[in-house]
């Protein structure tokens, strides 16, 4: 593949950004919703 030194970094950055956004938002959501559930049990 020609220009692989430009193609692979752009894919790596995009996939890392996409998965990072999903993981970061998922953890924040679960943490916040767990705090609500904990408050409710109190």
């Amino acid at each position: 593949m020609t220009h692989a030194e430009f193609i692979y970094p752009s894919y790596a950055l995009t996939i890392a950004g996409l998965l990072g956004a999903v993981a970061w938002s998922f953890v924040a959501m679960r943490r916040a919703e767990a705090a609500v559930a904990k408050e409710r049990r109190r």
Partner: protein, 244 residues
């Protein structure tokens, strides 16, 4: 619209939609990127560097589309003072900023082998950079306002006004390649026609659909997190008042 803006109803719908959008989106994006990287043909002029299009174009679409969504949510928050709209605008902003950054970096990585340079002060590139600054400005202002108003996003107006003022940049981005003599090429896909070969259109459409669904799923996750934090803060305030 007001029917779905009820937080309890929104949460019921969001709990179903969040995993659906995210998982289907990730599947479509993975298929699109795989075909784009390994199974689609190289371009007769650009060669293999055309493969960057399969990440660059969806990122550019979500950067602009996300900003439009953020501005509409801000307008709803300003006019009807609906807290869910303010939460939606704040949930869109960091994800939109991320895709704008991905669009700019992947565009630069495409520009080097194609144009011979990572960056030119071309109208399309410059207006996309302005979009990133608008997102960052919105995030900073929204964060400062939320801190000032005890974490209630419906109280602050400055960030919403900034989002609305920034909408003027969207037609500049869209039409920059037609209004000015730019290095960036014109649109390859319009509502009525496409100049892209079907073998390249398939991975582009798959990644476009996948990225859009993931964007939706991430925004819903961030809205659910913000709503949960608002509930915890409100409960804490009520308890503090009761024991005072």
């Amino acid at each position: 619209m007001h029917r779905f803006a009820n937080p309890a109803r929104f949460l019921r719908i969001a709990r179903v939609l969040t995993p659906l959008l995210t998982l289907i989106g990730l599947g479509l994006a993975a298929a699109g990127l795989w075909i784009g990287l390994f199974a689609s043909p190289p371009d007769y002029q650009q060669g293999d560097s055309v493969r960057i299009m399969y990440v660059h174009v969806p990122a550019a679409w979500l950067a602009s589309g996300g900003y439009l969504g953020m501005a509409i949510a801000s307008a709803v928050a300003l006019v009807w003072r609906h807290p869910l709209a303010a939460i939606a605008a704040r949930a869109i902003a960091p994800v939109g900023a991320l895709f704008t950054a991905i669009c700019l970096v992947s565009g630069s990585l495409w520009g080097k082998p194609t144009w011979g340079t990572y960056w030119v002060w071309d109208a399309r590139l410059t207006s996309m950079l302005v979009l990133l600054f608008l997102y960052l400005g919105y995030l900073a202002l929204a964060s400062a306002e939320d801190e000032r108003h005890g974490g209630d996003p419906a109280q602050g107006k400055g960030a919403a006004i900034l989002a609305l003022v920034g909408v003027v940049n969207l037609p500049i981005i869209k039409f920059s390649v037609e209004w000015w003599n730019t290095l960036h090429q014109g649109p390859s896909i319009t509502l009525t026609k496409s100049t892209i070969d079907p073998a390249m259109l398939l991975p582009l459409m798959l990644s476009l659909a996948g990225f859009t669904l993931v964007f939706g799923g991430v925004v819903l996750m961030r809205m659910r997190a913000a709503l949960a934090r608002t509930r915890t803060a409100a409960r804490g305030r009520r308890l503090a008042e009761a024991y005072a």
